[in-house]
Amino acid sequence: MNKLFKRNRKAYTVVELLVYIGIFSLLLAGVTAMFRYLGHFKASTQRLDVLHSLRLSSFKLSEELALSQEFLSPTGDEPDETVHQIVYFNNSFELIVVYIQKDKPQDETGRLVKLNWTEHLKKPDSKPQLEVLANGAIELNVTRPTRDYLEYEVKIKELRPDGQPEGKVFTLANGARLRSK
C-alpha cells in the first residue's frame, strides 16, 4: 500500500498538468474578462464623465437662459423653426452666443462654446473669451415653441484620448423658460 503512494514529486503527471493548466486557464480567462470589463467600465465611466460635464454645462446654460433678458435667436416667429445657435441677452444685458465651434469646417466634431460678445466689445484689443461647454460636439438644434420658452438638443461624440472622435453619440435635450417676464 505504501508503495502505491510513494511518489517522486519532482515531476507532474499529465493529468495533474492538464488540471493545473485548466484551472489556470479558467483563472486567467476570468481575470482577463475582469480586466476587459474594467476596460469597458473605464470607457463607460469616461462616457459618464463626458455626459456629466455636458449635463452640468447644460444645467448652467438653461439656468442662465431662464434668467436672461431676451432671446434673440431663434426669433420665435415660427415655432417649428430649428436653428443651430442660441443668441440672447443675459441678465446683465450682455450679448451671448452659444454655438458649435470647429477648428476647420470639415472636422467631424467641434466644441460647444459660449461667447460673451459684450465683454469682447469692452476690451476690443483682447481675444474673444470662449467658455467651452462640451467637447466632441456634433450638432446643436434649437427651437422656440413660444415667446418665452426655448428648447435645445446637443449631440456629442465620445473622443479618444488623442482627441479623435470614436464611439457612441450622446444626445442631451433641455429647455428654459424666461423667468424675468
Binding site: 514529486r9 452640468l56 433678458q69
Partner: protein
C-alpha cells in the same frame, strides 16, 4: 514508512502555497473590480443626487420669491395692522421660514428675508410735502406727516440636503404705500387731506386792508350768494359761492371772495345759505371727485429684478444679519448697474444681430466666422472711450449710495440717464396691467391708451376778464394774451392718442418727446419724467389785487375831483361796476404758469378701466432698473410720526387787499 522520501512532503506543501497565492491574487482582483464598480456607481449616484439637490434648492428658492410676491399683493402680513392715532412699531425687516409648502419632502426648505426700504426722501417730520412723505388728515383740524415706503427687498434661500440656492427680488409699488402700515396699496395723492372720499372746501384766510378800512374780522365771513346745490356737477375752477368780509367792529365791507371748486366732481353737501355767516376754519361745502378724474386709486405692484445670487457671494454670510444681507444687495446693485449700462449699446445692435443669425444655415462656425459675423453688425457706442473706467466709477458711486444719474456735468451720469430713459420707454410701450385680461385685450391694450390733461378747457370769470382788459389798456400789456395756455392754442393737447412704438413717434410720445427736446432735452431721468408727463403752462392763474382804496360812484368822485382831493388820472372807470377805481400798479397783477400732469386712461376692459397719472407710471418703470440704498438702516423699527398741525385752506396765502383770482386752462 521510515524510508518515505522527503521530497514528497515538500512538494505537497508547495502545492498548497501556490493555490493560496493564486486564490489571493484572484480575490484581490475581484475585490478591486467590485470596489471600483461600487465607487463609480456611488460617485455617479452622488453626482446625480447633487445635481438633483441643486435643482430642488433652486426651485425652492424661486418658489419663495413667488410666495412672497403673491402675499405682498394682498398686504404686508408681517406688519401690525395700523391703528390711527396710536403709537405703533413697524418692522424694518422680517425673516420667515416658509412652512407647509414641502410637506412630502423634509429635506427641502425655504426661508425668506424681507427688508423694507423707505423712500430716500422720507422725512420723519416737516413743514412741506416732499417726494417721500405726505400730509394726511388723522382727525378734524389735525394733520400728520407720514413717510412712504419705496420698495421691499426679498431674499429667498432654498435648501435641499447640503445644497442651497439664493434668489433676490425687489417688490415695487406705485403710488407708494405708507411706511408705517401693513398695506402694500398706494396712498391717495390727490389731496393733502388724506383719507377723504369727500373733499371739503374752505374759504380762504382773512387779510387786512388796514390803510383804507382798518382791521378785518378774522373769525367770520358772510355768505352773499351760493351757486351750487347738492347733486350738482361742478368743474375745477368754477365759482361756487361768494363771501363778504366784515370789519373788526362787525360792519360790512365791499370786499368779496369768490370761492372756487378745486376739483371737478359732484356737490355732496352745502353747509351755508345766503345771508348766513360762516366761521373761518369750517368747510362751506363738500364735493366728491369725478371717478373719471386724473388720479386713480389703482396701485401698480410687481416683483422685479429677480436674480440668482452666486454661491460665492453668500456662502460665508449669515443672512439672518441685516448687514450681511446688505452685502448681497451691494452685489445686486452692481449687477443692475451693469445691466442698465449695457442695455442701450446692446439694444442698438439687437435687430442686426437677430437678422444675421436668422439667415444663418451653418451648423457650426469657426471662431473667425463667428467674430466676423458679429463684427459686421457694427460697433455699439457706450459714449465713452474707456468703458471699464465708466463701469468702475459708477459702481463706486452706487456703493456710496449716490444716485448715478443726477450729476449733469458727468459724462458717466448722462450715459446712465440715457440708459434709464431707454428702459422707461421700452417698458412703457409694452405696458399691460396685472390682472385677468383676455389675451385679445392684452394685445390691443397699448394701442387703446389715451392721455388726458389734468385740466379741461375753462376760462376766467367774465368780470375778471373785463377787469383785465381795462388794466391791459392802462399798463400797455396784453394780459389776456398772457393768459392763453398751451392747450388753448393747441386744442389737441387736452386729449392725445397713445403710441405703442416710441420709434415711430406718433401721438403722445411724439408730442411730449418733441417738447422734451425743445427744453434742451433732459439730462437726468427726474427731469425727463417731468417733461414727458406734464404739460408746461397747461394752466395759468391770474391774481389781481385791487387794494388801492375804496371805489367811488360817479357823483362823489366828480365832487372829489372838483375839490382837488382826487386826481382823475389816478383812477379808471369800470363800466361793469359803475364805479371809479384807483389804478393799480403792475406788480398787483400776477399771472402764474402751472405745469399740469397728464393722466393715462385705458378702457380696453370696460368693466375695469385703467387710469393713472403718467408721472406715477413712469416712476413705476423707473423702479424696474434703479436699485436704491446699499446702506443698511440703523433701526429695527419705525414708528408713526406724531407731529400734527392745523390744516391751511387750499391755495397760497394772500397778501393784503381785495383780490380777484381765476384759472385759465
Amino acid at each position: 514508512m521510515k524510508n518515505r522520501p522527503k521530497s514528497s512532503v515538500r512538494s505537497h506543501s508547495r502545492k498548497r502555497g501556490f493555490s493560496i497565492a493564486v486564490g489571493l491574487a484572484a480575490g484581490i482582483v475581484v475585490l478591486l473590480a467590485v470596489t471600483n464598480l461600487a465607487f463609480y456607481s456611488s460617485h455617479e449616484i452622488g453626482i446625480v443626487k447633487t445635481m438633483l439637490n441643486i435643482k430642488k434648492a433652486d426651485f425652492a428658492a424661486f418658489s419663495g420669491i413667488n410666495v412672497v410676491n403673491a402675499r405682498l399683493h394682498e398686504n404686508r402680513w408681517y406688519q401690525p395692522k395700523r391703528i390711527p392715532n396710536q403709537l405703533q412699531k413697524f418692522k424694518s425687516s422680517h425673516v420667515e421660514k416658509l412652512e407647509d409648502y414641502f410637506k412630502d419632502d423634509k429635506t427641502l426648505g425655504t426661508t425668506v428675508f424681507i427688508d423694507e426700504i423707505p423712500h430716500p426722501k422720507a422725512q420723519k417730520g416737516g413743514a412741506e410735502n416732499t417726494d417721500g412723505s405726505i400730509w394726511v388728515e388723522v382727525a378734524p383740524q389735525k394733520r400728520q406727516y407720514r413717510a412712504l415706503l419705496d420698495h421691499i427687498r426679498v431674499l429667498s434661500l432654498g435648501t435641499s440636503g447640503d445644497e442651497k440656492s439664493l434668489y433676490f427680488g425687489k417688490f415695487i409699488m406705485v403710488p407708494e404705500p405708507y411706511l408705517a402700515d401693513d398695506q402694500s396699496v398706494g396712498h391717495h395723492i390727490e389731496s393733502p387731506l388724506e383719507g377723504e372720499d369727500l373733499i371739503p372746501i374752505y374759504p380762504e384766510p382773512v387779510w387786512d386792508n388796514k390803510e383804507e378800512e382798518g382791521f378785518t374780522n378774522k373769525e367770520r365771513k358772510g355768505v352773499v350768494s351760493v351757486a351750487i346745490a347738492p347733486g350738482q356737477k361742478v368743474k375745477m375752477g368754477q365759482i361756487i359761492m361768494v363771501l363778504k368780509f366784515y370789519m373788526a367792529d362787525g360792519a360790512e365791507t365791499t370786499r368779496r371772495e369768490q370761492v372756487i371748486s378745486p376739483y371737478s366732481g359732484t356737490v355732496k353737501k352745502v353747509l351755508v345759505v345766503p345771508g348766513q355767516d360762516t366761521l373761518m376754519g369750517q368747510p362751506v361745502a363738500f364735493i366728491e371727485k369725478d371717478p373719471g378724474d386724473l388720479y386713480s386709486k389703482k396701485t401698480l405692484r410687481k416683483m422685479v429684478q429677480i436674480t440668482k445670487i452666486p454661491l460665492s457671494i453668500f456662502e460665508n454670510l449669515d443672512l439672518n444679519k441685516r448687514e450681511d444681507r446688505f452685502k448681497v444687495y451691494t452685489h445686486v446693485s452692481r449687477m443692475m448697474l451693469e445691466s442698465v449700462l449695457n442695455r442701450v449699446p446692446m439694444q442698438s445692435i439687437r435687430d442686426e444681430v437677430t437678422d444675421k443669425f436668422k439667415n444663418l444655415d451653418e451648423k457650426s462656425l469657426t471662431l473667425n466666422q463667428a467674430t466676423d459675423l458679429l463684427n459686421s453688425v457694427g460697433k455699439p457706442q457706450w459714449g465713452v472711450d474707456d468703458i471699464e473706467k465708466m463701469f468702475a466709477s459708477l459702481k463706486a458711486k452706487s456703493d456710496q449710495n449716490l444716485e448715478p444719474d443726477i450729476d449733469v456735468n458727468s459724462d458717466y451720469d448722462r450715459i446712465y440717464a440715457q440708459a434709464g430713459k431707454s428702459v422707461i420707454s421700452k417698458l412703457w410701450s409694452g405696458f399691460t396691467p396685472d390682472g385677468r385680461l383676455a389675451s385679445s385685450t392684452l394685445k390691443k391694450f397699448p394701442e387703446m391708451a389715451k392721455y388726458k390733461l389734468g385740466v379741461q378747457p375753462s376760462n376766467i370769470d367774465e368780470e375778471m376778464l373785463d377787469l383785465l382788459r381795462l388794466i391791459s389798456q392802462q399798463h400797455g400789456i396784453d394780459y389776456l394774451k398772457q393768459l392763453e395756455t398751451e392747450p388753448q392754442r393747441h386744442n389737441e393737447l387736452y386729449n392725445i392718442a397713445s403710441t405703442t412704438n416710441p420709434a415711430t413717434k406718433k401721438g403722445y410720445w411724439e408730442e411730449m418727446g418733441n417738447k422734451d427736446k425743445l427744453n434742451n432735452g433732459s439730462d437726468n431721468v427726474k427731469d425727463y419724467i417731468k417733461n414727458m408727463s406734464e404739460l408746461k403752462s397747461g394752466a395759468k392763474k391770474a391774481v389781481v389785487k385791487l387794494d388801492q382804496g375804496t371805489p367811488w360812484e360817479s357823483a362823489p368822485f366828480e365832487q372829489m375831483v372838483a375839490d382837488g382831493t382826487a386826481n382823475r388820472d389816478d383812477y379808471f372807470w369800470w363800466e361793469r361796476k359803475q364805479g371809479w377805481y384807483k389804478k393799480i400798479p403792475k406788480e398787483n397783477v400776477v399771472i402764474k404758469d402751472y405745469d399740469i400732469p397728464y393722466g393715462y386712461d385705458n378702457e380696453s376692459n370696460p368693466d375695469d378701466p385703467f387710469k393713472m397719472e403718467v408721472n406715477q407710471m413712469m416712476q413705476y418703470f423707473r423702479k424696474h432698473y434703479t436699485f436704491g440704498t446699499t446702506l443698511p438702516p440703523a433701526y429695527d423699527y419705525w414708528a408713526e410720526n406724531t407731529i400734527t398741525d392745523t390744516p391751511q385752506a387750499p391755495g397760497p396765502p394772500d397778501s393784503t387787499g381785495a383780490k380777484y383770482s381765476g384759472i385759465s386752462s
